[in-house]
């Protein structure tokens, strides 16, 4: 049995001082010879011999890594990289992710999700020893591409108001954290008051305890309902609303902008709708219950997403989120972004994060809506 784990030894070699590096390599080779037999170690011996004859061993270790990919501990990798690669949706979901703006400091993005990313970065800085800050490097990308980027290993995690508890929302190979936001759920906004009256009439006809799903199914029957592709609203509508005309939109702004066909209802997270009906699209109003309380179609919790195999990072995130919840920090963040009066541009200037401009879609286009296939 090997005394040293290959990946941890190679990590130490790469990160350590030169002399320690050589000692570790000798120990590691000794163990490799014991365990693997001489034939299999030949490429490593050649690679390392080359390494000593060349200035700088980085290329050799890259070569070794190509032959035998290292199973790095993802937290150590983040520490040595000094960067946390975070994906974030380019489609705005105010107040979680605001559209990118220009500031005195350059291009910035802000919102509750961005503040959370800062918290993760700060916690990782402390975890990595606090000597050098772990800088969150944001990659703004289309929502659908976040999953691809993660699967291809270009991201450590992504945060974009993603429902973690919705059936069908978790692609294979991805892991969802405990909730960082669990207020509200899926809501609806409308323009015509008749739509609200239809739904409320359904509630009034009900006897006994209220049944939101039944009221929504009957109230929305025959209406044109818009949802954002791949989001909770899309999954909910496909699974539960059979007698509607479903429009699948690339983004929430695309749904609002669509005139043909005329949209009766737009579904998305209630907190997002609450913000945009007050601050962005005052022509739209929230669909509420008969008593004026929010009409929530289903509960939705937002989670941080990372790869299934990143166990240490997963525990790190869950422990951090639990601590933020315990300390009241998550609640404070929720109040700051959902209840306080503020100007997003000003917050972007003072606390927004930069992102890699070279990696964003050339011209962000909010996209369009198309009719869903017959269901």
């Amino acid at each position: 049995m090997a005394l040293y784990n290959r990946s941890s030894i190679l990590n130490s070699m790469i990160a350590g001082e030169p002399i320690i590096r050589v000692q570790l390599m000798i120990r590691w080779l000794r163990n490799r010879l014991k365990d693997d037999g001489s034939e299999r170690i030949v490429p490593f011996l050649i690679a390392i011999a080359l390494g000593f004859s060349m200035q700088g061993c980085g290329l050799v270790f890259d070569a070794v890594e190509l032959v035998h990919p290292l199973q790095r501990d993802e937290l150590s990798a983040i520490c040595s990289r000094g960067q946390l690669r975070v994906g974030i949706s380019v489609e705005p979901f105010r107040p979680f992710v605001f559209p990118a703006v220009y500031t005195d400091e350059g291009v910035r993005v802000t919102g509750l999700d961005v503040e959370l990313i800062r918290e993760v970065g700060d916690a990782l800085t402390a975890y990595c020893g606090g000597q050098n800050p772990i800088v969150p490097t944001l990659q703004l990308t289309r929502f659908r591409d976040l999953f691809i980027e993660m699967n291809e290993g270009h991201l450590d995690l992504f945060v974009s108001s993603i429902g973690g508890n919705i059936p069908g929302a978790r692609p294979v190979g991805l892991w969802y954290s405990i909730p960082y936001f669990h207020h509200g759920g899926l809501g609806a906004m409308i323009q015509q008051p008749e739509v609200a009256e239809r739904v409320r009439a359904q509630f009034q006809q009900q006897t006994g305890s209220p049944d939101t799903l039944a009221a929504i199914q009957a109230g929305f029957s025959g209406l044109t309902v818009a949802a954002q592709k791949g989001r909770t609203s899309h999954l909910y509508a496909e699974a539960n609303l059979k007698n509607i005309r479903l429009l699948i939109c690339d983004s929430l702004p695309a749904a609002v902008e669509t005139k043909d066909p005329s949209i009766d209802v737009i579904l998305t997270n209630y907190s997002i709708l609450d913000y945009v009906t007050k601050h962005v699209w005052p022509d739209w109003r929230l669909l509420t219950r008969n008593d004026g309380k929010p009409l929530i179609l289903t509960q939705e919790h937002f989670s941080i997403v990372t790869a299934e195999e990143k166990r240490r990072l997963q525990w790190f995130l869950n422990n951090l989120l639990y601590r933020l919840e315990e300390s009241g920090r998550l609640e404070q963040m929720r109040r700051r972004w959902l209840e306080e009066t503020y100007a997003p541009t000003r917050r972007a200037t003072t606390e927004g994060l930069p992102f890699e401009v070279s990696k964003v879609p050339e011209h962000y286009d909010q996209g369009q809506c198309r009719l869903a296939a017959e269901r």
Binding site: P92, A100, V101, V357, H363, Y364
Partner: protein, 231 residues
Amino acid sequence: MCPSIGWAQAPREEIEKTAQHLATLLNVGRFVVDRNQTLINDPRIGDKGFTPEVFEHQVVDEFVHQTTIDLKHLPSHLPTLAKELLPVLLQSSKEVVGDAQFVINQRGIGFKNFVPATFASQAARKFSNRSYVKIKQTTLKPRNLKNTPDAYEESVLKRLATQPVSDTSIIEWVDNKTTLRALTPIYYSKDCLVCHGNPKGILDISGYPREGAQEGDLAGAISIQIPAKTP
């Protein structure tokens, strides 16, 4: 990336003229951004066509209009220092417009905060990082604390605030005549008052309280520091 610019010792008049040309060029950049503000803020258009090249073309045209100097073919009578530094500031300004392309070209988003002040802050910073010349925008009531005036700037701004509107820069040699300080005043135009005018104290679109300014009031200045010789 441009190399750092240095020089041994240029004649004082050349340094003074260079400071004026630099201030004019930064101001022209602000002017071009302001002139395209409606386009930049149009939420209906994605690709606005306000590329770094288009910006550069408009800046070059406006600079010729204001100074008769063609930035693409710098005249031989121009001070050597200006010949070195004007292209660096033009390139820095272009890069700022390039960096902002993603923000500018977002469709569906109106106000993007790419305005003369944010443009010039970044352009000045990029330029200052590449030369021994320091440029910044400054004002007595800064929204961005990095634009807070130093003691010298504060005293000149106070002086300018009491004087009639003038395009003339205040140029002085300080620190035993080892450093040139030049402040070129910027005054509020009608367009500026949307954010900086009345009602005073009410938040503007970017979230800052309006200053309650009137057209023609002193908005601030472009401040330039040039050492007489390289450190």
